[in-house]
């Protein structure tokens, strides 16, 4: 494994003064940082080698952040965190659900940003299909759109619910420890506790199980954690 090698981050922002200071902050925390001032430069840097994570501004000259993120995702499933002054309620920010793992608004609070980067990096190696994941006749997950289809009806998932299901789906049929789920669902700065996971799972069952009292997909493994199963395995 490459656990000891420093994680590489590509930082793309047209504000050069921010590039300098943020790159320094990240390097101080042991990351290997490359920078690019616009989309074209970013694409040139990507030709030289893929980073572990891309930190991307949404509004940039020439190739804008959204177009760049789509272009990158079309080539490889690189995790992307968007760092933008545009608030999350903006229609443009909503388009990012599909291509970005997380969204941090500027001005960022560095410890918060770092915690989000760590959370996304924990997901490296998780492989779930980009297309929808069919778990049975009554449940299909479409985590890249933060939605699920339950008995023919589409339900929206919150970002946290989507992250939790992502962690469970990447280990389909296996038990995922509550502690792992905490680190996947919440950033370190949020000081999450096991009860966060318990309540979230209860709410998730209300959303994705046809009968929440008799779950067939989202199962509790007492004292350990949770298990996501497709209904075929459930015998």
């Amino acid at each position: 494994m490459l656990e000891n090698r420093p994680r590489r981050i590509l930082l793309v922002d047209d504000d050069t003064s921010l590039l300098v200071v943020l790159a320094e902050q990240l390097r101080d925390d042991g990351y290997e940082v490359a920078t690019a001032r616009d989309g074209q430069e970013a694409l040139r840097r990507l030709e030289a080698g893929w980073p572990d994570l891309i930190l991307l501004d949404l509004m940039m000259p020439r190739v804008d952040g959204l177009a760049l993120a789509r272009q990158i995702k079309a080539e490889a499933d690189l995790p992307i965190i968007v760092l933008s002054a545009i608030d999350t309620a903006d229609s443009k920010a909503r388009l990012l659900d599909e291509v970005a793992e997380d969204y941090v608004t500027k001005p960022y609070h560095y410890p918060e940003l770092r915690a989000r980067i760590q959370r996304v990096l924990r997901r490296l190696g998780d492989r779930i299909p980009r297309q929808s994941l069919v778990l049975g006749p009554n449940l299909t997950l479409d985590l890249h759109h933060r939605s699920a289809t339950v008995a023919g009806t589409e339900v929206q998932l919150t970002p946290t619910e989507s992250r939790l299901l992502h962690a469970l789906a990447a280990n389909l049929g296996e038990t995922v420890a509550t502690e792992t789920l905490i680190s996947r669902g919440w950033a370190d700065t949020e000081e999450a506790e096991p009860s966060y996971v318990w309540v979230s799972m209860r709410r998730l069952r209300q959303k994705i199980e046809v009968d929440p009292d008799r779950p067939v997909h989202l199962l509790t493994v007492r004292g350990i954690g949770y298990r996501l199963v497709s209904s075929r395995d459930d015998t």
Binding site: L18, V21, Q25, I86, T88, A89, S195, W198, R202
Partner: protein, 510 residues
């Protein structure tokens, strides 16, 4: 009693089951002999009048002949008993033939009348009626002819009306007025069988009415109106051989008025389309404006904040420098105000869709307080809802907490003190967070308008603040299924605001 066979002078001696039908056939045969040439060539048919006359004659003459014959036969006998019998027989026979004749006349009279009645009823009911063929040239035959003509015209107008309705139904306002007008012109030609026809979208008064010249194609015209407005005029020519009656003009007027409605719809549709396009454009412009405001204000603030953090990280001296701390605080404050303004705009546009995330309120309040960084004010938090989690949008809840805590600091007393209490309403699955200061509280006058936009606490207004905090907070909370209210004034307490949110009770595993 005598049998019918004994009776002399009968027109047809063949025995039959139905004497009336027999008599009718005989009457028709007699009538044929009397007037062998039908005037109007419908086979061998004779006119109703001829049949009626013949029937009456037969009905009147036969009884008399029978009576006379029997009386004469009676004279051959001297026996008065036989004579009396014969006379009685003669009277009975005369009565019989009289009734027979009457039946023949009635049958002959009613049969064609019944056919006409049925046909007229069908036309009256709006059905098509095949033409009635009656022989002869009398009143009844002319009545049938007239009925046939009316039925044919009603049928034609019905077809025209059907074509008209289906043409109208096909008019789509999205096609635009010009296309509709030219289509309506073509349709009018097809529906009414006109030689030429056009719909001009001009004031009808400017189009002179053509004169009708016998032998030339006949001009027809209808004004196209919608409501009180004249939209145009429909003009065309009818083949000279065709009649044009009042009902035809009515039908053309009907078409013109329906076309008028369709044209008006197309006009309105066009206006709505262009207004919609304009609104979308404005909306996009507004979004773009907000985006650039946000970008252009927050980008420099991001740099300021990042450099302050970096400076404070590299030296202990800088870390404790009060001046750098103020720069950081003010930058944060500006950031929040920009965000609040954006939120107001989104609230007005109704585009805020909060996420329903699970959140521990206590730590969130503490972090919001730490971010305010006011060392001069005492802060106390009492969490009576251990284990409870709120369901809210994290970013939006942060905005609310910041606004409420900032208010509590701003309007608090001299030795500032802010108290926060978190309680659970288990019966209704809700969490309540009360944030109280030790200031003078809210005056009666301010209480009512506190949650409206651009309202600041009257006498205490220090001038900073947007006057949007409470308005935005209440709107955000309501969108999250919660609420915000001001608690009644209490002893030794300043203003106390309580926010409520949907809550999740402490859960055990599974």
């Amino acid at each position: 009693m005598t049998t019918p066979d004994e009776l002399p002078g009968g027109p047809d001696r063949t025995a039959g089951a139905d004497p009336a039908a027999e008599a009718g056939r005989a009457a028709r045969a007699a009538a044929e002999r009397a007037e062998p040439e039908p005037r109007r060539g419908h086979g061998l048919g004779l006119s109703f009048r001829v049949l009626l006359t013949a029937g009456l004659i037969v009905a009147a003459v036969l009884p008399v002949a029978a009576f006379g014959g029997i009386v004469m036969a009676a004279h051959l006998y001297s026996d008065s008993r036989v004579m009396v019998t014969l006379l009685v027989a003669a009277i009975v026979a005369a009565a019989f033939f009289g009734l027979l004749g009457a039946a023949v006349v009635v049958a002959g009279l009613t049969a064609p009348l019944r056919r006409i009645t049925i046909a007229v009823e069908r036309v009256a009911a709006g059905e098509s009626s095949p033409p009635i063929h009656l022989s002869g040239d009398d009143e009844l035959a002319r009545l049938a002819e007239s009925h046939n003509r009316i039925a044919a015209e009603a049928g034609r107008r019905n077809r025209e009306l059907g074509a008209l309705l289906s043409a109208i139904a096909g008019y789509n306002p999205a096609q635009g007025t010009e296309a509709l007008a030219s289509r309506a012109g073509l349709d009018a030609c097809a529906i009414y069988g006109l030689i030429d026809c056009r719909l001009s979208l001009v004031d009808p008064a400017t189009v002179p009415t053509e004169e009708t010249i016998p032998g030339d194609p006949r001009p027809v015209r209808a004004e196209v109106r919608a409501g009180g407005d004249a939209l145009g005029v429909l003009t065309g020519h009818l083949p000279a051989t065709r009649a044009w009656e009042r009902a035809d003009q009515d039908l053309l007027d009907l078409f013109a008025s329906e076309v008028g409605v369709a044209l008006r719809n197309a006009e309105l549709f066009g206006q709505i389309e262009s207004q919609n396009a304009r609104l979308l454009e404005l909306d996009a412009t507004k979004d773009e404006f907000l985006r650039s405001v946000s970008h252009n204000l927050q980008t420099p603030l991001t740099s300021i904040r990042a450099y302050v953090d970096q400076l404070r990280a590299v030296s202990d001296e800088a870390a404790s420098d009060r001046r750098l701390q103020i720069v950081a605080e003010q930058a944060d404050r500006l950031t929040r105000l920009v965000r609040q303004l954006l939120t107001v705009t989104r609230l007005e546009a109704g585009v805020l869709r909060p996420e329903a995330e699970v959140i521990a309120v206590g730590p969130r309040v503490r972090r919001a307080w730490e971010a305010l960084n006011v060392a001069s004010v005492t802060f106390e938090i009492r969490d009576e809802a251990r284990g409870w989690l709120a369901v809210a949008d994290p970013d939006q809840l942060d905005q609310v907490l910041w606004a409420l805590l900032d208010n509590a600091v701003k309007y608090g007393g001299r030795d500032g003190r802010v108290e926060v209490a978190i309680r659970a309403d288990a019966a209704r699955d809700r969490l309540h967070v009360t944030i109280a200061d030790n200031g003078p509280g809210v005056s009666e006058a301010d209480r009512t308008r506190l949650f409206t936009r651009f309202t600041r606490g009257g006498t205490q207004a220090s001038g900073d603040g947007t006057g949007l905090g409470l308005y935005v907070s209440r709107q955000l909370l309501r969108a999250m299924g919660g609420d915000l209210w001001l608690e009644p004034a209490g002893d030794g307490r300043g203003a106390a605001f309580t926010l409520s949110l949907p809550g999740e009770s402490p859960a055990d595993e599974g």
